[in-house]
Symmetry: C2
Subunit: 248 residues, 2 copies
Amino acid sequence: MSNQNIYDNQDFFNGYHSLRSSKDNNYNDLLEQPAMADMLPDLTGKKVLDLGCGYGHNCLDFIRNGADRVVGLDISEKMLEVARNESNDVKIEYINMSMTEISSITERFDFVYSSLAFHYIEDFSKLIKDSYRLLNSGGYLLYSQEHPIITATIDDKGHFNQDETGNCVSYTFSNYNQAGRREIHWYVDGVIKYHRPMGELLTTIAKAGFILEEVCEPTPKDWAVRKLPSIKKEFLKPCFLIVKAKRQ
Amino acid sequence: MSNQNIYDNQDFFNGYHSLRSSKDNNYNDLLEQPAMADMLPDLTGKKVLDLGCGYGHNCLDFIRNGADRVVGLDISEKMLEVARNESNDVKIEYINMSMTEISSITERFDFVYSSLAFHYIEDFSKLIKDSYRLLNSGGYLLYSQEHPIITATIDDKGHFNQDETGNCVSYTFSNYNQAGRREIHWYVDGVIKYHRPMGELLTTIAKAGFILEEVCEPTPKDWAVRKLPSIKKEFLKPCFLIVKAKRQ
C-alpha cells in the first residue's frame, strides 16, 4: 500500500508521540535533524513544501529562517491536529494529503523538504518526478530517509553485534540488493517500508533531472554523544541517508 | 602511502594474475566488468584516459568501441609489460605513472575511466579534481571501486554469515562511518586501501563540479549466476560501486 497512514493508528501515534517527545534520546533530534539543518538552502523569501510534515516543527523553522510561505502536507489528520496547535503561523498552510497525490498541486515552490517519510512510498520514481515538477528552476530538494543498510533486511532482523563487555562492534544485515516491500514492527505490526539500494535511489534522482549536490550519511556530533553515549555506535554503520539535489 | 605499487610485488602479481586468468570465477569478469560495459558512453572518435589500466584489456576495448586514442596509465611496470604484449594497438599509448601524479598531464580527454583502483588512493578529492581538469567539457568519468560496505571494516573481518546448510544469509561489517586507511591481506600482507563512506565519495564528486548521472551497485546477471552459482550471495550485500559523472 503506497499511501499507508500508520500515524492515524492510535497505538502507533501514542508510541511515536512518546518517542519524539523525549528530546534527549531519539535519533531524529540527535542525528538526523541537526544534519538536515546544516544542509538547508537559504530560505529568505522562499516558498517551501514540506512532504510528511508531521507535527509541523520544521514548517515553523522554515518561517523562522525567512521563508515567505510554507505548505505542510501530511497523510495523517492526527499529526496535522498537533501541527495546527503546536506549529501555527499565518504563513503556514497545512494540507491533509498523501504525498502520492502531489501531482494534483498546481502551486510551485523553491524548496521541497521531507524528513524520514520517503521510505514509506512505493513509487519512488513518481515521487521524485513529482517533486521536480513542483520546484521552480534552481529550487532544491532536501530529503532524509532510513539508510538502505537499515531498510535492507527482509526479515526485519538487521542487528548490531556486541562483544563480551556489551559494546557494539559490528552490524549484520542482508538482502541489500533486493529492492522491494519490507514489513516491520514499529510500535505496531505491519508497518510497510520500501527498500531501495543507494544506487537505485540516487540514479532515480539524477535521471529525473536533478543535480545531486550532497549525499550525507550523518554521524553524531560530540554534543549528541554527550547526551546519549550509546549513539557512538552509529559510527559503525549508517542510520540515515540525506540527499540534497537542485532542480536545473 | 598514496602511490603504493603492490602490483610490482612478485607474490602479489602471481596471485592477481592467476585470479584474473580464471575467467569463470572472478568477480571482475562476472560482475564489475559487465556492469561497467553497460555504462560506457559513446566512444566514437573520442580520446580516452584509463587510470590504472593494468593489462590494458579495457584500452583495447575502447579502441574496438571506436575511440581515436587511448592513454593507459599504470603505476606498475610489470602490468604494463603484459599490456604492451596482450593489448597492443597503434592508437594506444601506455604510460608508467601513478594516478597521484596526473596533474602533470597536459593533454585533455573525452573520457576518464578507472576500474577498481581508486580505493588505493589516499587523496580522493585531488584525484577527482585532477580527473575533472583532464576532461573536455561534456566528457565523462566512469569509475568502479570496492563498495564502501566492503572497505569499511578496520580489522579486515567483514564477512558473510551462513545458515546450518552452508547458505550465505547475511553480512557483517563495521566502521562504516570511520573513513581512513585500511590494511588488508590480499595475496600479500599490508595491502593498503582507503575507506570512504558513500556520502563522502559522492559529495566529493559533486563538489568538484561533476554532474552525477548514475550510481550503480551491480548485481549478477543470470548468465553469471549460471557460471558461478555462489555469486547469488551478492544480492545480500553490494560488492562494487560504479559511478558515472559528466563534466559540465
